[in-house]
């Protein structure tokens, strides 16, 4: 088995779960980069240099993916061979209606209300996150995928609010 075949979670020695210990991830990331960053191979042979670049790149990619909730969940789906391409249409019409109303609310909101709206969204996100772990445990990937799409929508709302 090649090192580059370890999945992102295995690289950091953590379990593939919805929420992870970010502090642990950060520490492990630095430990690994302290070992494999190309700077540690400046005087090594070319073979080692190119290997180090490949591995350090992989560690960075893994770290970036796992640091972000949405990307992390997408990655969990990916390592469970759940293909997103087949499920590109989002069918939860109730949610979409809610989204339209929320978008409208944000557009018409006074900047003073932004904080409140942001809090509302954070609560929604927290609820979804707790559902996600259950769905992952039950290997209910269709719903997990839908959960993650919802979070993407909410994140977009939050961006709208911060502009």
């Amino acid at each position: 088995m090649s090192l580059l075949n370890l999945n992102y979670f295995e690289i950091f020695g953590i379990e593939a779960q919805i929420t992870i210990d970010i502090e642990h991830l950060n520490k492990k990331y630095l430990t690994l980069q302290s070992e494999f960053h190309p700077d540690k191979f400046v005087n090594a042979s070319n073979l080692e240099k190119s290997m180090a670049t490949r591995i350090s790149t992989y560690i960075n990619d893994a770290y970036n993916t796992l640091s972000d909730l949405v990307e992390r969940v997408d990655y969990i789906l990916q390592i469970n061979n759940y293909s997103k391409e087949e499920h590109t249409t989002f069918k939860n019409t109730n949610f979409l209606t809610d989204q339209m109303m929320l978008s409208e609310k944000i557009e018409n909101a006074n900047p003073i209300q932004y904080k409140d709206i942001q809090n509302e969204i954070s609560i929604e996100i927290k609820t979804i996150i707790s559902e996600m772990q259950n769905n992952l445990n039950n290997r209910d990937f269709d719903i997990l995928y839908e959960n993650n799409s919802m979070i993407k929508f909410y994140k977009k709302n939050i961006r709208q609010l911060s502009v």
């Binding site: 302290s34 700077d39 540690k40 005087n43 073979l47 080692e48 990619d61």
Partner: protein
């Protein structure tokens, strides 16, 4: 640590100390320094560590450093990595330029040189100064570049070093180098924002520093905004306001303006009696205020990008000669209550950091320091309608890579062209084109059947390489590169071979030496590895294959033939690839197994 542990830094045999330096290749001045146990020494010319980045001709030779020459090339850094078209939009009026080709040339008397070649002359001069001081030739260097330099500008800097025959340990960004110099002095930890305002470039980097790890969180800047722009604003003001200056040349006006600026670093009023000029600090600040506002906007944006809250930032660090302008501190203090650090010399602090990093990278220091930098500008590819599709976003930690899959749209199509761009805007015409990459040799299939995976790899210097593979027949695809800035592979070769740095036979000798060193390195590394774990990781067959390749390489070294050695090295590397990989797996496994991280960091 090396994966194949080449040597213990404490052991004597293969770790002869290298003469490694840090170089700050600046717009107005350049510096070269060496660090020994983190004590930095600057190599001086005429008592000054600041060596003017000025090139002039004398008796058909191009020389460096004399600012009093009437005909000279100044601020060449502004032209690094630019195409003729880009140069023509910069309104450069103090250089004689030939912009008829993609690659711009500077003309000095009857000589025509590219920006990279002029920079290489400066670099060679710096190394000569170090050599004279130390009685040793420079072996390797860390060279600083503005954090916001794009790929072409970085490539051009690296090329300049190659032409000057300098082995580049790493290109590091200027604000990061400054942070290293400050960090080493104060052993500080926390989050820092570096405001780096130089002669021609402006950079901001936000870094988190902890236990010897320098992690860049975000970076922003303008590679054409610096002290030079202030001088030209002031000279325009002088012509309007002081009659006696009307007939002065551009060069004379700029140097008077620079002098006025320098007076106002300390005083509240600046004078020039010869031309009856008198300017108060207040008037001066009014003239440059909007330009300083631009730097503050960039500063704000970098902090926003870092996602840090203001209260999480410990210090603002001011570096670069132009950061001496007092208006800068005033403007920062208007908006931020974060305390400002500026006790190190803003002219030399970048070179100090580079020297310290050179000491560490060359293995001369036992201290460890890890620098995790980011890609300053997003990389993208041009899609239909002239839009840029992001492949790697800015502020991604480097090294990094990304893959995109393409397919053919015509039956039997064997070629495909991709335009790689760098920049944040959606519209490709507002981005910098890095070049057109033509994929050749695509297997002729029906339209849409080929799957070409293009890989974009950014290395630790922030430099991009593009490779491609056709998936259905799993074949490496040839790529023809047509750089947008005239630095084609042919042109680069031409510059390298015409460099005067070394005579032909010296070059051959050097090439042979380098390859022998590389061979010895590889042999030593692999023999040591076999001693440690060869029994556990290799079966008899594998071991024989490897030892055969080693003896083949040893024979080649004895024969003293460059090509034979090169060939034997690559054979050995190919034979050992699986073994190196196995060892890496082992070492990562032990890292993962180690439960108590606190013991490791």
């Amino acid at each position: 640590m090396a994966l194949i542990q080449i040597s213990d830094p404490d052991s004597s045999s293969s770790t002869k100390k290298q003469f490694s330096v840090g170089i700050d290749l600046g717009t107005s001045n350049s510096l070269i320094a060496e660090s020994i146990n983190k004590q930095v020494t600057f190599f001086k010319n005429d008592k000054s560590e600041l060596i003017p980045s000025v090139v002039y001709e004398s008796k058909k030779k191009l020389l460096v450093g004399d600012t009093k020459q009437s005909q000279s090339i100044k601020s060449i850094k502004r032209l690094m990595g630019l195409s003729s078209q880009e140069v023509s939009s910069l309104s450069i009026n103090n250089l004689n330029l030939d912009l008829t080709n993609d690659l711009p040339y500077v003309i000095i008397n009857d000589q025509k040189k590219s920006a990279a070649e002029i920079s290489s002359i400066i670099l060679s001069h710096l190394c000569d100064i170090a050599k004279k001081n130390k009685n040793l030739s420079v072996e390797s260097a860390v060279i600083t570049v503005p954090a916001y330099f794009n790929d072409v500008q970085r490539q051009a800097t690296k090329l300049a070093a190659e032409i000057a025959n300098i082995k580049v340990l790493r290109l590091i960004s200027e604000p990061t180098a400054a942070a290293i110099a400050y960090g080493i002095d104060d052993t500080k930890e926390g989050n820092f924002v570096v405001y780096d305002f130089g002669g021609g470039t402006f950079d901001v980097s936000v870094l988190s520093v902890k236990k010897g790890v320098y992690k860049v969180l975000s970076t922003k800047g303008d590679t054409h905004l610096g002290g030079d722009d202030i001088d030209s604003l002031i000279s325009k003001y002088l012509v309007k306001k002081f009659k006696k200056t009307e007939n002065l040349s551009v060069g004379e006006l700029l140097s008077i303006s620079k002098d006025i600026k320098h007076q106002l670093y300390e005083n509240d009023i600046a004078n020039n009696d010869m031309y009856g000029i008198s300017i108060t600090l207040e008037d001066f600040n009014k003239i440059i205020s909007s330009l300083i506002d631009r730097t503050i906007d960039i500063f704000d944006a970098a902090i926003t990008d870092s996602s840090l809250l203001r209260e999480d930032i410990q210090n603002i660090i001011l570096v670069g000669g132009s950061s001496r302008l007092r208006i800068i501190k005033d403007k920062i203090k208007e908006k931020y209550t974060i305390s400002i650090l500026d006790h190190l010399n803003p002219d030399t602090v970048v070179a100090s950091g580079a020297a310290i990093q050179a000491e560490i990278l060359s293995g001369n220091s036992k201290d460890d320091l890890l620098l995790l930098d980011v890609l300053p500008l997003s990389l993208g590819i041009e899609t239909y309608g002239g839009l840029s599709e992001k492949v790697i976003s800015r502020n991604t930690p480097i090294p990094t890579s990304s893959e995109k899959t393409f397919t053919t749209f015509k039956d039997g199509q064997t070629k495909m062209m991709i335009n790689v761009v760098q920049g944040e805007r959606e519209d490709v015409s507002a981005c910098i084109s890095l070049g057109e990459f033509t994929l050749l040799d695509i297997p002729p299939l029906v339209a849409g059947a080929a799957r070409i995976i293009v890989k974009f790899q950014v290395d630790a210097d922030g430099l991009l390489t593009v490779s491609a593979r056709e998936q259905t027949v799993n074949k490496e695809t040839l790529i023809q590169i047509k750089p947008s800035h005239g630095l084609s592979p042919d042109k680069i070769q031409e510059m390298l071979s015409s460099s005067n740095a070394l005579a032909e036979e010296d070059k051959n000798y050097r090439l042979l030496r380098e390859n022998i060193v590389e061979a010895e390195r590889a042999i030593y590394a692999i023999e040591e590895a076999i001693k440690t774990d060869g029994k556990d990781l290799l079966n008899t067959d594998e071991l024989t294959k490897i030892t055969d390749s080693i003896s083949y390489l040893k024979k080649a070294v004895i024969n003293n033939d460059v090509n034979e050695i090169k060939d034997a090295i690559s054979k050995l590397e190919n034979t050992c690839e699986f073994y190196v990989e196995r060892r890496m797996n082992n070492s990562i496994k032990s890292l993962i197994a180690g439960k108590d991280i606190n013991d490791i960091i």
